[in-house]
C-alpha cells in the first residue's frame, strides 16, 4: 500500500520556484533517502509533506486519504478533522531536535500522547519507558533536555515521534547538528528502525549511511528529482552530476 503520495507538488518562495512539479510515492516498509546540494528543495519537500509549509500546487495523500489537492491552480487542504487524523499518520524528527526544554525527557514523550491523543497516562508512560529502554536512555527519563548530549537529545526526539506510533517517519537531516562523534549513535537507531521495517523518509548528507539503510535514494537539485533508484543504481549511475555530488561527499 502507498503510505504517502505526492503528485506534481509546487512550492515557491517570493516567486522563486523551490519545488517544481515533484511527484513521489512511498510504499509501506520502504526506506527512502533524499540527497542533494543545499537549496535543492529537499527540506522544503519534507516540510510540505509534513504540512509545515503549505504547497502552492499539487496533491498530498496519506494512506489514500487526501490531505491537499489542487483546484483551479491553487492548493486546497482537507477539513480540520481530516487533517487532525492525517497528522497522526506521520512523525517528524527535526535537525535541531526541538525538544521542549521545560519538560523532562519522559514528559516530552508522553505529554502529547496524554493531552492530544487522550492515551491514559499509565499507558503513555509505559510506551515511553519501553522506547527509552530500546534507545538506551532509561536512566535519562527524569533528565531535562539541557542535561543531555546532542545525540541523546536526538534519540529522545526519535522516541517522542515513535511514541505516537506513526505509520511513516520523516527525518530532516537528523545528524546535521551533531558532532561527528555523536552521529553514529543516531544513525544506529535509524538503522534499527529500518530493520524493523519502519517506513521512513530521510533527508541526509550522510552518503554511506544512505547507501546502507535505503531501499531507494532520490537525488534532488534545483527543485526537481534528477535521479532516483536503489543505492546500487544511484551509486553506479552514469549521470555526471550525481556522480560528482556523491563522490564529493563520500571523500
Amino acid at each position: 500500500m502507498k503510505l504517502l503520495e505526492m503528485n506534481h507538488v509546487r512550492k515557491e518562495f517570493d516567486g522563486l520556484g523551490v519545488l517544481k512539479d515533484i511527484s513521489l510515492s512511498v510504499e509501506e516498509g520502504e526506506v527512502v533517502s533524499i540527497i542533494g546540494p543545499s537549496g535543492s528543495g529537499k527540506s522544503t519537500l519534507l516540510r510540505c509533506a509534513t504540512m509545515l509549509e503549505t504547497m502552492d500546487g499539487g496533491e498530498l495523500k496519506y494512506m489514500g486519504e487526501t490531505a491537499a489537492s489542487e483546484k483551479d491552480g491553487s492548493c486546497i487542504y482537507a477539513s480540520r478533522e481530516d487533517l487532525k487524523r492525517i497528522h497522526s499518520y506521520f512523525g517528524l524528527v527535526f535537525q535541531n531536535f526541538n525538544l521542549f526544554p521545560h519538560y523532562s525527557v519522559l514528559k516530552n514523550i508522553t505529554d502529547s500522547l496524554i493531552h492530544v491523543d487522550k492515551v491514559p497516562r499509565q499507558e503513555a508512560e509505559e510506551r515511553a519507558e519501553k522506547l527509552l529502554a530500546q534507545l538506551g536512555l532509561s536512566d535519562k527519563r527524569d533528565a531535562y533536555p539541557y542535561q543531555l548530549s546532542g545525540g541523546q537529545q536526538q534519540r529522545v526526539s526519535i522516541a517522542r515521534a515513535l511514541a505516537k506510533q506513526p505509520r511513516i517517519l520523516f527525518f530532516d537531516e537528523p545528524t546535521s547538528a551533531l558532532d561527528p562523534e555523536l552521529t553514529g549513535e543516531v544513525l544506529r537507531v535509524i538503522k534499527d528502525l529500518a530493520r524493523q521495517h519502519m517506513t521512513m523518509i530521510i533527508v541526509t548528507h550522510e552518503m554511506q549511511f544512505a547507501k546502507e539503510v535505503s531501499d531507494r535514494i532520490i537525488f534532488m537539485e534545483e527543485g526537481v528529482i534528477k535521479e532516483q533508484g536503489t543505492p546500487e543504481e544511484l551509486f553506479g549511475t552514469d549521470n555526471e552530476r550525481v556522480r560528482e555530488f556523491i563522490g564529493h561527499l563520500s571523500k
Binding site: T50, M51, L52, K84, H87, S88, G91, L92, F94, N96, N98, L99, F100, P101, H102, D111, S112, H115, V116, D117, Y144, P145, Y146, R160, A161, K164
Partner: protein
C-alpha cells in the same frame, strides 16, 4: 506628633499603596498579554490600534493619565464623580498604563521563541491554544522575568503618583504630615518603607526566577 504616631499613619497609607500595587498587577499582567496579542495580530486594524494605545501610554506621563482618568468623566461628559471613584481611577489608570509596558515585554518574549518549538508542537498535534499555554508561555515567562521584575519595582515607586489626585496612600500621607509638622522625618520614613517594600519584591522575584531554573 510622636514617631510612633507617624509610623502608624504611614503604615495606614502603606496599606493603600500595597492595595494599588496588588490590584494593578492583578489587572495589568493579564491585560498586557491581551494587548500583546493585539500588537502581534494579523489584522492590521487591531495591530494599528494597539500600537497607538501602547505609544500613547508610554509617551505621556502616568500622572497626566491619572488626572485624565479621574477628572475626564466630569470635564468631558459632566458626569458627577463620587468619592469612591478616586481609588477606582487610580487602579484603572495604573492598570492600563502598566498593561502597555507589560504587553511589550510579553511581545519581546514571544517573538524570541524559536520557530522550532511551534513546529514540533504542530507535528505532535497540539492545538493553537495548547501550544501557546503549554509550550510557549511557560518558556516566555522564564525569559521575561528579569524585565518584569524591573517593571514591578518601578510600579512600587509609581504608586506614590496617586498623590496627584489626593488618594491617601503612603506618599500623600507623608507629605501631609511633613507639611503640618515642618519635619523631614515622615518623608525619610516613607522612603525607608518604599525601600523595604522593594527589597521584599526583589527577593520574591528572585525566588520565582529560581523556581524556573530547573531547565535551560
Amino acid at each position: 506628633m510622636s514617631i510612633q504616631m507617624i509610623i502608624l499613619q504611614l503604615g495606614k497609607g502603606m496599606i493603600v499603596s500595597v492595595e494599588i500595587f496588588m490590584l494593578t498587577l492583578l489587572f495589568s499582567l493579564p491585560l498586557g498579554l491581551i494587548v500583546a496579542f493585539g500588537r502581534m495580530s494579523k489584522n492590521s486594524i487591531i495591530r494599528t490600534v494597539t500600537k497607538a494605545y501602547i505609544s500613547i501610554m508610554r509617551g505621556t506621563p502616568l500622572m497626566l493619565q491619572l488626572l485624565v482618568v479621574y477628572f475626564g468623566p466630569y470635564y468631558a461628559f459632566k458626569v458627577r464623580i463620587g468619592s469612591g471613584y478616586r481609588f477606582v481611577a487610580v487602579i484603572l489608570a495604573f492598570s492600563i498604563n502598566y498593561a502597555a509596558y507589560f504587553a511589550e515585554i510579553y511581545r519581546s518574549g514571544i517573538e524570541s521563541m524559536p520557530i522550532g518549538q511551534y513546529e514540533a508542537a504542530k507535528v505532535l498535534g497540539y492545538g493553537k491554544a495548547q501550544t501557546f499555554f503549554k509550550i510557549i508561555l511557560p518558556q516566555v515567562i522564564k525569559r521575561i522575568l528579569p524585565s518584569i521584575t524591573n517593571e514591578i519595582i518601578t510600579l512600587v515607586k509609581d504608586t506614590s503618583l496617586a498623590f496627584a489626585i489626593a488618594q491617601a496612600e503612603m506618599f500623600t500621607v507623608a507629605k501631609q504630615i511633613a507639611a503640618a509638622q515642618t519635619t523631614i522625618m515622615p518623608l525619610m520614613t516613607a522612603g525607608l518603607f518604599y525601600y523595604i517594600f522593594n527589597l521584599i519584591v526583589a527577593v520574591a522575584m528572585e525566588k520565582i526566577e529560581k523556581a524556573f531554573s530547573y531547565y535551560r
